[in-house]
Every structure is written in C-alpha cells, then in structure tokens.
Amino acid sequence: MTIIKPTTRTLAMTRRSFLGATAAGATGLALGFPRPAIAQGAPLKVGLMLPFSGTYAKLGQFIENGFNLYVEQKSGVLGGRKVEFIRLDDESKPETATDNMNRLVSRDKADVVIGTVHSGVAMAMVKVARDSGVPLIIPNAGADEATGPLCAPNIFRTSFSNWQPAHPMGKVVFDEGHRNVVTITWRYTAGQQMVGAFAEGFEAAGGTVVDALTVPFPEVEFQALITRIATLKPDAVFAFFAGGGAVKFVTDYAAAGLKGKIPLYGTGFLTDGTLKAQGDAATGIRTTLHYADDLDTPANKSFLSAFEAKTGETGDIYAVQGFDAAALLEAGLGATDGNASAREALFAAMAGAKIDSPRGPLSFSAAHNPIQNIYLREVRDGRNALVSVAGEAVQDPARGCRMA
C-alpha cells in the first residue's frame, strides 16, 4: 500500500534560508530537478478507485503504479501541491460503485478521483461525478457513453473509447484484401461497441460483415462458434475478447486449425497482457491499439525503463494510462497553482493539455476523450510489435455529447 503521507511546510523563511533555497533552487533547475514546491497547506487528496482484487486486479495495480511513477518523478508534488492518496478497491462491482464513489467524494473529500477499469463501475462513477462536479479522470474504462451522451466538463479520459481502437481496423482489414469478415465477441457493451465500430469502418471501406457472432459474457465455451466460423469460411475474423477469454479464444482458434487459414484480427485487448499464456497460438495475430510495446520514442523508452526500475515488471498500456492520468492532472493543476477548486480554469487547462505520452502525442477532444494514434501491431516473438500507424490522431465521434 502506497500512501504518501501529508507533510506540512511552513512559509516562515529567514534570509539565510531564503538564500540557501535560492541557491538550491538554481542548482536544482540547472540539474533538471523539479522546482521546489510552493506550500499550499493541505495536500491534494487524490482518490484512486481501482480494482485491487478480483479479475482486473492486475490492471488496477498497473494503473496505480503508472500513476505513482509519474508522481514520484515529480517528487510527490503536482502543480505545487503534495499529493496524498486515498485508495479504494472497487472490486469491479457495479452494484457497490455508486456508494464507493460517494464515499470518496463526500466522506473522504477527495479533490480529484481517478478510476476505473470496469465500464459498469465507471458509468456509476460518471453519474456521481456529474452530480457532484468532482474532477474525474478515467484511466481505462472504454464505454463510449462516458465521453458521449454522458460527457461533462469535469470528466476526462486518458485511455480510449471503445470506438477508437476498433474503427481504424476496418480499413486495415479491407486494405489487406479481405472482403467478407465474421465478427465474434461477448454479448456486452464493450464487445458490441468495438465490433460495431469495426463494422462501421469495414463497411465504409467496402467490405461485408457476413455474420456477427456473440457469446454470453463472460462465458468461454467457443467450440460451437468456431465450428460455425469454419463452416462460413470468411476471408478473415475480427474478435474482441480480453483476459482469460482472450487466451482461450486464441488457443481454441489455433487448436481448431483455423490459425493460418483464416487470419484473425482484433483490438489490442486480444493479445495484451496475455501473450505468455497464449504462446505460439497468438503468433501472427494483428491487432489495433493506442499503444505498441516497442514504440521507438524517447518518451516510451524512458517510461519503460523507469517503470521496470520501480516495479520490476514490464510496463504496458494500463501503466501508460495511469501515468498519463497523472500527467493530465498536473497539466490542470499547473494552471491553477495547485488549486483543484478553481474548476473552470482547471478543466480548461486539462482540456488544452498536450502530453508527450509514451504512446505518442496525446491531446484531448472537446468531449475530453484522447486524440491519439492508433497503431497496427503484430504478435512476433511474444511481443505486440509495431507494424504501422493505422490511424493518426484518431478522434472519437463523441456521438450524443453536448460539448462536442
């Protein structure tokens, strides 16, 4: 458990300490240290509402570590304010999400809330955030609604909308010569929004979706539908699954002999964080996502090495999303001298933020969803290796958002 303890600094300053501080400050600047903080009394309370247990625990942990890494790189200070964390395990349970979020906002008086992974939980958080006005940064959940019909000035996202990584894949699949495609996913929001966005892109390019297969969430018995795919014999298959389901689908697909005969495409979740378990069955699968493990940029390289030094683990997209959530918060707080209650100025600065993210250039749409590159990756030697940029500065259509 990482809680940065609040420290109170006094403003009293003798001439000697002033001189010393100035000298230290000058040295610090010259050496590239963070500028010493201007004390503001109470620390900034950041509520981290993430899954620390259950199926998504690992994702929650990576997001938290990414966020912490950024804060540590700034010596525990964002926009001149010391940061204090309030951790809350949301267990990925939508039924308790509203109570949990209310607790953070009303009882714990969080200045800002960061969360979460599960879309159902995130939607409950969005509703509380809309009522209370508390700044909310979503570091993963992709439900289109959060930056669509339910968008609000105080709600930001540093991850993606479900539409975003899936839509550019439509053109990619068409350009690789496939005309008839079968889609397969779980019958729930994320799956259907991604498959819908893929179909939109693919049909706009001129392709046909022959059949849209679905499995009840979170079932992992795919054999009947894999047989169906083999009967339909499409040119290619587009799939959305994640976690254990992704591992099982990819291995079943290969075991049924379809690998190498009917190419498999998907959004990055099909092969992210699961490659070790998928083994050779995943080799050659092409996916689109707003990140690739081997992006050759200074920001990504320094992020990955710092993350590994801190946690001993290889950073991934979830860690990047947490890291960027902290960067976005700092961009806002920098403009208000660390005052999170000057909300209008805070939100304006966050909306205008231009972040040199490990994933590439990151800015924000009028609906507060990321504008970012979507990369085409291919699984090679157990990595999601970059193939090309499938879409540059891809922006979600933000359907139904009044701010867009």
Partner: protein, 290 residues
C-alpha cells in the same frame, strides 16, 4: 446446416456435456449424499487448474500435474471435512452456505498469494497436442477426445463404486436414512469423510483436466459453479446417472442454442431447467422430496 456440420456440432455438444458432468459429479455426491450445499465447489475447480499448471510447469510432466492436483485436493478435502464440514451435517442450509462462501474467499485469497493473478496456460505433452482434420479448414484437437473418454471413465467408475461395492452400499444406505443407518451400527460417518474428499478431488480433477483447453485464470470456477448446480438440480439431486443426463442436455441446448438462437443462448439453459422443474419438481431422475 448440412449433415457434416451438424455432426461436428453434435460432437461439440457431447464433449461439452461430458466436461460439465465431470465438474458436477463431485457436487452431486456431496449435495446428494451428505446433504451439504458446497458453494466452494467452483473454487476447488479453479484450485485444481492452478495446481495442475503449477505442478506441470515445475516438473515438466503433465501426468504429475493432473494426479498431483487430484491427490492434494483429496487431502485438503479430508482435512476440511474433519475440521469444518462434519459440524454441518443435518444443520440448516444457511450455515452450510455461509461456511462454503467463507471457503470461497479463503481459497481465492490463497490462490492469489500462492499463484498470483495472471492468466496461465498448461502445456500439453507432444502426444496429446495433435489434432484430427474434420473438414478442409477445421481440425479437432485430440486432447478434447481424450478428455471426453476420461469423463466417461469417471462416470462409469462413480456408478460402479456406488452400485456394486460395499462402500457404495453404505453410502446409499446413509443417503436414504442417516439415523437408521447409524442405529444399525453401519460406519456411515467414517465413509462421509471420503465422500466429501472425493467430491472436492473430483472438482479439482475437472479443473486440472480442463486447464489445457480452458486456460487458467482467477474466477474460472464461478460460471462452472452455477452450471454445476443446474446440472445437479436438473438431473435430480444425488443421482449420478441423472447428473450425466442433465449435463448432456445442457451441452446440447447450449451448443445448438449458440448456433441457432445466439440472442437467447445465455438463458436457454435456465429455461430448460425451469421447464424440467415444472414437469418433474425433483429433477429428471430425482426420487423424493429434498
């Protein structure tokens, strides 16, 4: 759907049904014979899968993984029975539900501490990893056929033990009338330990055997627990042949439901259960009031 595709889907359905039977068999023993509702059945399924993964990777031998998972869970089952479960016989179902729910939390936390929360896969030995060509694009993994045969073997073994052996006779007598069996001096209580341990070990065996095709992940037992209860209730509580029939029915309904009525695939199994219970409230082969 041509006849070839139909045959393949039928194969899928039967194979899925057999797997469901293997998972549910332990539950029906514990539920039917001991009268204990064991909600923790699903986590022992998961534990079996993790043990198989861990042992297979550590020793490089898949057979060690399977047998080790079975043996370890059997011992765990014996220990649990003598410390906790035996206090529950004849108590009302709420205590059983509470205790086994507690077991879920404890076993799941132990899994987190021992094995972490990553998704894992169990490597198959060379001779099991092949596949048979069914059509020009579709293959059928040999291991799935092996699993089906194993499920059949387990079904026959359970049936023979209960019907044809002395221990089976004691078990049947105890399930019929606990007090009378005790009064006649038949060692029913010592047999109980083994029934519970075998129930747990069967759940773990199912998890271990299915691990290479299902992958190993936290929460993998949750869905299986619900389906196992459906199988047990559908077949008639405590009836092993009933569980087999129930499992095959679910396999058929689920597989063909996914193909023909994908919108309803999620609820067809429960509709089937509701219909059966309306017609036969004690399940397909159930005998008396529960």
């Amino acid at each position: 759907m041509d006849i070839g595709t139909f045959a393949i889907q039928l194969l899928n359905a039967v194979q899925y049904g057999l797997v469901l039977f293997l998972v549910a068999s332990g539950l029906t023993l514990v539920f039917g014979i001991l009268g204990v509702i064991n909600l923790a059945h699903g986590v022992f399924y998961m534990l079996g899968a993790y043990l198989a993964w861990w042992l297979t990777v550590a020793t490089g031998n898949f057979a060690v993984g399977i047998l080790g998972a079975f043996a370890i869970s059997f011992v765990v089952g014996l220990a649990l029975e003598s410390v906790f479960i035996r206090r529950l016989y004849g108590r009302d179902h709420l205590s059983q539900v509470l205790l086994s729910f507690g077991l879920i939390l404890v076993v799941d936390e132990l899994r987190q501490m021992l094995f972490g929360r990553d998704v894992q896969s169990v490597p198959l030995p060379e001779w099991l990893s092949g596949s048979l060509p069914l059509t020009d694009v579709l293959n059928y993994p040999v291991y799935r056929l092996v699993v089906s045969l194993l499920c059949l073997a387990v079904a026959v073994a359970i049936f023979m033990v209960i019907r044809r052996t002395r221990i089976g006779m004691v078990v049947r007598a105890g399930a019929e009338n606990r007090e009378m069996t005790r009064a006649l001096g038949i060692p029913f209580d010592s047999v109980n330990r083994y029934v519970f341990a075998v129930g747990i070990a069967l759940a773990a065996l199912a998890g271990a055997v299915i691990a290479p095709i299902s992958t190993v992940f936290p929460g993998m037992g949750d869905g299986m627990l619900i389906l196992s209860f459906v199988v047990v209730v559908l077949g008639g509580i405590g009836s092993v042949p009933g569980a087999a029939i129930g499992a095959l029915l679910i396999g058929l309904i689920d597989t063909f439901g996914k193909v023909f009525m994908p919108e309803l695939a999620g609820i067809l199994v429960y509709v089937l259960m509701a219909v059966v219970l309306v017609v036969r409230p004690t399940g397909i082969l159930g005998k008396r009031e529960v």
